[in-house]
């Protein structure tokens, strides 16, 4: 099979795109995380994210975060057009650093929670949610 110059270029372009697109999406997530943590190292223990394994409807996916002693928790959806979901800032009268809400997911993807703990360190937890029907309109 012979490739003309034009076909080769088109193939190369397509291949480059498939590499660049996921990288860009990840870069957006990394940027948001870096902005939240200020570039500090992120540990594993200290935050718990509860999300369903399979969500039938991506428009309302119930999630809960729990991070004992945390001052704030950032929730991200890595596969959404904009990765940010919400930031929970806990005040002095919060009985426990837990909160739950409902979020939109565009498709099957990782949901990430990053907590800023009382001692200033950061913890991360993530969970993959399978979405049957996406939640971003058409």
């Amino acid at each position: 099979m012979d490739f003309t110059r034009r076909e080769t270029l088109a193939l190369g372009g397509a291949a480059a795109l498939t590499f660049v697109l996921p990288f860009r999406a990840n870069a957006a997530v990394d940027d948001v995380i870096a902005e939240f943590t200020g570039g500090a190292a992120v540990g594993d223990a200290g935050v718990e994210l509860t999300a369903p394994e399979i969500a039938e409807n991506g428009n309302t996916v119930p999630i809960a975060v729990s991070a004992p002693g945390a001052t704030s928790v950032l929730v991200l959806a890595a596969g959404n057009p904009t990765p940010g979901v919400a930031t929970f800032n806990f005040g002095p009268l919060a009985a426990s650093q837990t909160a739950s809400t409902r979020m939109r997911l565009a498709g099957t993807q990782d949901v990430i929670a990053i907590a800023k703990l009382a001692d200033g360190s950061f913890a991360r937890s993530s969970k993959t949610v399978k979405v049957t029907i996406g939640g971003c309109g058409g």
Binding site: V85, L93, A94, T98, R102, R104
Partner: protein
Amino acid sequence: MASGVKPRVKVPKSASAGEAIVIKTLISHPMESGQRKDGDGNPIPRSIINRFTCEFNGQTVIDITMEPAISTNPYFEFEATVPEAGEFAFTWYDDDGSVYNDNKAITV
């Protein structure tokens, strides 16, 4: 301003001092994400509630910043400590500058 915005909050009527209570809040709001398109293919502009706060007698319980990924009719459930009798103040901030309030008193 989004029409038909109605906050609903569930707080126990009374609690013992220092007790942790569960608060559930819901506000009816379309939370238009800015990603959708109308029938003619024009993007529908973003219109969401971007911040929710809950205070008890002036002290913060929780302060949530929201992005378009929060579902229609944003729902939140969290826990608060009640040190004395007083009033919870719930505030929602809309993208268009509207502010929605609700207050709930609690006795000890």
